[in-house]
Amino acid sequence: MVALTQALLNGLVLGLIYVAIAVGLTIVFGTLRLVNFAHGAFYAIGAYIGLVVAQQWGLGPALVAAPLAVALFAVILDRVLLRAFYSKDATSQILVTFGIALIVEETLRLIFGSTTLQYPPLPALATSFAMGPIVYPAYRLLFALGVVVMLVLVWLFLEKTDYGLIVRAGVRDRTMVQLLGGNIKAASTIVFALGAAIAGLVGAAASPIYSIAPGTGFAFLVPSFVVVVVGGLGSFWGAVLGGLLIGELQSVTTLVFPPAANVVIYLCMAVVLLLRPQGLLGESEVIRQ
C-alpha cells in the first residue's frame, strides 16, 4: 500500500512534467499549427541554466532566470527561423525542429559535457514530508503544487485574455483567427514564448528531482508527444488528462512490472491513435494535418 501510494505520487510528479511540456506543445500547435520537435530543447536549456544559476545564487533565482532566458531564446528562434515554416506541411516542420533539437542538444553537450549532472545538495531538497507510514520528499510535493498553480494561471490566460481567445479559436478554425488579423502576430509570439517559458521553468524546477543530461530534452519530448496525442493535439484539458494518465501509467507499471514501464506508454498511444486518432479530448478537424 505504501509502495503503491509512493508510485502514485511519483506518477503525479512525472505526469505533471509531461502536462507542462505538453501544454506548450499543444497551444503552439493550436495557434501556429506548428509541430515542434524542438520543444524538449526548451526543457533542457531551462534545466542547465537553472543549474548554473542555482549553484551561484540558489534555487529561487534559478526559477526566474530559466524561463526568461528560454523565452528569449524561443522568440529569437521563432523570428529567425520557425516563422517561415508555419505554413508548411507537418513533415517539413518536424524535420526543421528536429534539426534544431539536435543542434541544441549538441551545443549543450559541448558546453556542459556528456555526463549526467546532479543538483548540489540544497537544504530545500533534503526535507521530507511524512504522513503516517508514507514519507515523501517535500520538494516533490512543492513541485507538484507549483506546477498545478502554473497550469491554473495558464488556463486563466487561455480563458480570460484576448490572446487566449486567439489560441482557442485557432484550434477550432484557422480562418477565424486570420480574420482577427493584426493581433495574431503578437499573439503567436506570446504563445510561443509562453510555451517555451513553461518548458524552461519546469526544466529548472524538475532537475533537482531528475538528473540533467544533454539528451534530457528529447527524452522528455517523446513521452510528451505521446501525451499530446493521447489527450488530443490542440486541447488544453487533453494535455492535462493525457499527462496525468501517462505519468501514472508509467509509474504504476514500474512498480508492478518494471520491464514494461517504457513500453506501456507507447502501447497506450498506439491504441489511442488507432481507435480515436483525434485523441481523448481532441477535435476531429485536426487529424489530417
Binding site: V35, L81, D89, A90, T91, S92, I94, L95, V96, F98, G99, I100, L102, I103, E105, E106, T107, R109, L110, F218, V222, F225, V226, V229, L233, P259, A260, N262, V263, Y266, L267, M269, A270, L273, L274, P277, I287, R288, Q289
Partner: protein, 343 residues
C-alpha cells in the same frame, strides 16, 4: 545506348572505383562497404518518404530488427553452419513481416500522426529488445557471433578475405578491400536497378498519383492504403536487409541499432542527399558517414556539425544535394531548348 543500360554501366563503374577513393581522403578501409550498406537502408527510407510523403520516425525497428534477427539466426539456429544467405533472407523476411504489421495500422494516418505512430512502435521494439536480456544481451548488444559463410555452389566463401596485395600508390593497396565490399556492391547494384525500375513501374506511377491527389485517386478506383502499405513493406524490407548486412559485416549488433537516433539518422541521410531522387540517399549517407569517420575522432562537436548541415540543407537546399543538382540541370536544359527554339 538505352538510358537503363547507361544507368547500370555508370553505377557499376562508380562501384568499381568507389573503395579506392577513401584511402586518398583519409577514410578507413571498411568505410566504403559500410556506406553502401547504410545507403540501402536510406534508399528504403526514401522510397517511403519520397513516393508516399510519409515520414517514418521508426525505421530503426527494421534496421535493428534485421540485424538482431540475422545475428540470432546465426547464434541460435545455425551455429554449426552459419549461412549468410539464410541469415540475410530470414532477417529481410522478418523486417517485411514487421513492416506489414506496423504498416497495416499506420498507413491510414498522415503527417505527425504517422511519424509518431512509427516512433511509438520503434520505441516499443527498442525496449522489448533491451529487456529481453537472455536473447539480445540487453544494452550490451550481440557480439562474437559465428562469422557467416557465403555458400556459392561447392564453395563456401569467407567474405572477410582480403583481395590479393597490389600497391596502388595514393589509392592504398588492393588488399585493403575485402570480399565483403564486392558482395555489398553486388547487393547495392541489385537494389539500385530494382528501385529504379520500381519508381518507373506501374506501381511507382500509382504511388506518385496517390501522393499528388489522394482524393481523386481513390475515386478513380485505387486502393490508396493498400499501395501505401506495399510501399511501407518494401521500404521496411530494404532497411531490414541493410541492418542484417551491417550486423554480419561488423560482427556485432549494438542496442543503438534499434534506437531513436538510428531512426533519426536515416532522416538526416535522406534529407541531406535529396528526397525523391535515386542517388540522393546514397550521397547523403556517404557524405555524413564520411564526415563522421573523419571528424568524430578529432572534434568533440561532430554531431553539432551534423545538425547544422541538416538544418542548413533544409533551409537553403530544400531539395537536398542531388535534388538541387537535378533541378539545376533541368533548368539549364530547358533554357538551352528554349534558346534553340528561339533560333
Amino acid at each position: 545506348m538505352s538510358p537503363g543500360l547507361r544507368f547500370a554501366l555508370l553505377t557499376a563503374l562508380g562501384l568499381a572505383l568507389f573503395p579506392f577513393a577513401f584511402h586518398a581522403i583519409d577514410g578507413y578501409a571498411g568505410l566504403a562497404t559500410q556506406i553502401l550498406i547504410m545507403s540501402i537502408a536510406s534508399i528504403g527510407f526514401n522510397l517511403l518518404l519520397g513516393y508516399t510523403g510519409l515520414l517514418s520516425y521508426g525505421h530503426a525497428m527494421f534496421y535493428g530488427g534485421g540485424g538482431y534477427v540475422a545475428a540470432l539466426l546465426l547464434i541460435r539456429v545455425m551455429p554449426q553452419h552459419p549461412n549468410l544467405w539464410l541469415a540475410v533472407l530470414g532477417a529481410t523476411l522478418a523486417a517485411t513481416v514487421l513492416a506489414l504489421l506496423v504498416g497495416a495500422l499506420a498507413v491510414r494516418l498522415y503527417g505527425i500522426y504517422f511519424a509518431l505512430l512509427t516512433l511509438a512502435f520503434a520505441q516499443m521494439i527498442f525496449f522489448v529488445v533491451e529487456q529481453s536480456q537472455d536473447w539480445t544481451n540487453g544494452d550490451d548488444g550481440l557480439q562474437n557471433f559465428p562469422a557467416a559463410m557465403l555458400p556459392i555452389g561447392p564453395y563456401s566463401i569467407d567474405l572477410g578475405t582480403p583481395l590479393p596485395a597490389l600497391p596502388l600508390g595514393p589509392f592504398g593497396n588492393l588488399s585493403d578491400i575485402k570480399l565483403w565490399y564486392i558482395f555489398a556492391a553486388l547487393v547495392f547494384f541489385g537494389v539500385m536497378i530494382g528501385v529504379r525500375a520500381l519508381t518507373r513501374s506501374q506501381f511507382g506511377e500509382v504511388l506518385t498519383a496517390i501522393r499528388e491527389n489522394e482524393e481523386r485517386s481513390t475515386l478513380i478506383g485505387f486502393n490508396a492504403p493498400a499501395y501505401r502499405l506495399a510501399a511501407f513493406a518494401i521500404s521496411g524490407a530494404l532497411t531490414g536487409l541493410a541492418g542484417a548486412l551491417r550486423a554480419l559485416y561488423d560482427g556485432s549488433v549494438p542496442i543503438d541499432s534499434v534506437g531513436i537516433e538510428r531512426s533519426g539518422s536515416f532522416v538526416i541521410f535522406t534529407i541531406v542527399g535529396g528526397v525523391q531522387t535515386l542517388f540522393g540517399p546514397v550521397v547523403g549517407t556517404g557524405l555524413i558517414m564520411y564526415l563522421e569517420a573523419v571528424l568524430s575522432g578529432k572534434l568533440d562537436y561532430w554531431r553539432l556539425i551534423e545538425g547544422v548541415i541538416f538544418v542548413a540543407v533544409i533551409i537553403f537546399l530544400p531539395a537536398g544535394i542531388v535534388g538541387t543538382i537535378n533541378n539545376r540541370v533541368k533548368e539549364r536544359r530547358a533554357l538551352l531548348a528554349a534558346s534553340v527554339r528561339a533560333k
